[in-house]
Symmetry: C2
Subunit: 369 residues, 2 copies
């Protein structure tokens, strides 16, 4: 994976005297607030009326040739965090302890000039050592005692490549080395121990739990991101052991050549194929119906569906959206969050979605005055 | 307005034996069904498992250089229809009585070869007569007696230009003629009587109410569409009189040079400016916060807000969305439908919206696995 790290201007802390949105109550000296929560999400930290952005803001955008890996990594990391730090009790803060230049040196190859590099030296150009560690993200979890925010834990996500793309000559052909699941895990565990040791050297992080979660990157040409496969919650300096995570992502409908890996997969694929043919019959010129599916412990846990077609009027968009909401209820599995983006070319025209824990599909049409 | 009417292949009625989604109940011979309704929308007609598209499908796409005029015209026409044919009692069908070639000839200029043209002959090239009638759309309203659908009324929207753009020489400079509000109305009423007379000649339309609604097109460079200003419900051959409609659309925030037209406008603009500065303070790099506002009888009746910014992570998108939902509740007027599209570049990342009649803002984040 080519790594063109763009220089990102770290946002300097602006202490402009902007009004804090939330009323401050008794503590008028309090200069922070939160974004408010909703749908089981964390509240986020606002400082002096501004969102407190990450010290390594933007580094993941540059790290991923496949943007599905970025979104999936970041959302997946929050999913892991919720296992350890409940959104009911903790407030989310973008990572404040690892800055852009630190992460840039960690993510690069190890060398005399860069002893902190987590990736091995290149070796032979004709047969290079893979870069294993592709992205790292820090999340901080806080509590609010009414006067100040206090750090209660840090979660670090580490994305490990499942394949490594390289060129033997500049502008020459591209080669790919597959990296086995065992090797992905092994390299993740090695990186995790190094990261834990380094974080414990920071004064602020000596006594808080540090969670490290390992993510297997999807290949660059994948239409769905990778997934988290293990995490470790650590109170000391040594990795305390790993909890396995069984997440899997795939694209539906599956190419017919691909054999279903188990019968659950196969049923889900059939259901989706029914849904797809139903709406393709309904509407002329329908060009695409695809889904990203996530599995957890072998069961379908959520879907993001995209329907692309050419619409000729707002009334067509309205009718189609209503029809899709009805077909979704009838053909798609119940009990899991699903969203369906209805778009023409690349512009979204409507959204149909069902939240986790709900049995109702909501629709919203993107209209115009 | 240049008129490059693309040849649109009219969808031939496909009688493929696709399965009708809705269960047919007692009438197994019934070959139609509806899309299902929701949010006060009409049910739409499905025939033999397929959505029944308009006989003039796509003509409005070609008629409008400004796509805001198309969306606003079509949605506005449905709004007018709801005054006459309640979605509780009537089913919507895309127009089946005016086909593409009929509308093409009506929308063109009158000439020896095209006696049906609703627009005047060009006249002098250096000082041409404006083309007044820019777009026409038909909607049909039906009832279902359990065995078949029956036509109960037709609604025709007519879009009249508020300015006319022309060139004296091919590839020469562009000139604009403003068309006064009085002239827009007068031309609309003339076209309406001609259209009514022609429709009554069709056997199927001799005994149903025909509603004609007049729309004033926004200029080509407008960031919001035009609006409907009158409609007429007719049982006979002569236009029976006009009901005035007081809709107005505008873009917020208003340029400071523009004087507020009345104090209600000015308050709405101030509220929106507060909302805008609140979220611009909150988040770095915020590039744009604009709104389309619709007024009805002088009161703000709805808003479509677009917030464009550069996001660097999914956690930023989540936090920002929560914050916007809170700021919307606090700063934006209550009791009207509002949606807020949160996007980076041209890709939508999240939606925050409140439906008509609701006091809750819902949020949905467009995530990825």
């Amino acid at each position: 994976m080519k790594r063109t790290i763009k220089k990102i201007a770290t946002a300097t802390a602006l202490l402009a005297s902007v009004v804090v949105l939330a009323s401050c109550g008794k503590n008028s000296a309090k200069n922070y607030s939160t974004t408010g929560s909703g749908n089981g999400n964390y509240q986020g930290v606002i400082q002096n009326g501004r969102y407190k952005t990450s010290k390594a803001r933007g580094i993941n955008v540059a790290q991923n040739d496949n943007q599905f890996n970025q979104k999936s990594f970041e959302s997946g990391l929050t999913q892991v965090s919720k296992r350890v730090f409940s959104p009911k009790n903790y407030i989310f803060q973008e990572g404040q302890y690892l800055d852009t230049s630190t992460l840039q040196s960690w993510l690069a190859r190890k060398s005399a000039k860069n002893p902190e590099g987590l990736n091995p030296a290149q070796g032979k150009k004709s047969d290079p050592n893979p870069e294993y560690v592709q992205q790292i993200e820090e999340q901080d979890y806080m509590t609010d005692n009414g006067r100040s925010m206090k750090l209660k834990g840090v979660v670090i996500g580490v994305g490990i490549n499942s394949e490594y793309n390289y060129q033997k000559k500049t502008d020459g052909p591209s080669y790919t080395k597959k990296i086995s699941q065992d090797e992905v895990r092994r390299q993740g565990e090695i990186a995790a121990q190094k990261i834990l040791t380094r974080l414990r050297q920071k004064k602020a992080l000596q006594n808080v739990p540090i969670v490290i979660a390992l993510y297997k990157q999807a290949p660059d040409d994948s239409l769905v991101g990778g997934s988290f496969f293990a995490y470790s919650k650590n109170n000391g300096n040594k990795i305390s052991g790993w909890t396995k995570l069984d997440y899997k992502t795939m694209v539906l409908p599956k190419a017919s050549a691909t054999n279903a890996q188990n019968s659950a997969d196969s049923t889900d694929n059939d259901n989706f194929a029914n849904f797809k043919s139903q709406i393709q019959n309904f509407f002329p010129n329908l060009s695409g119906v695809t889904a990203q599916a996530q599995y957890h412990n072998g069961n379908l846990a959520g879907m993001h569906i995209t329907v692309t077609t050419q619409f000729y009027s707002q009334t067509e968009i309205t009718s189609f959206t209503q029809y899709i909401a009805r077909a979704a209820k009838r053909y798609l599995p119940s009990g899991i969050p699903i969203d369906i983006r209805i778009q023409s070319d690349s512009e979204m025209q409507a959204i149909v979605y069902r939240d986790a824990g709900s049995d109702t599909f909501r629709t919203h049409i993107l209209d115009s005055y």
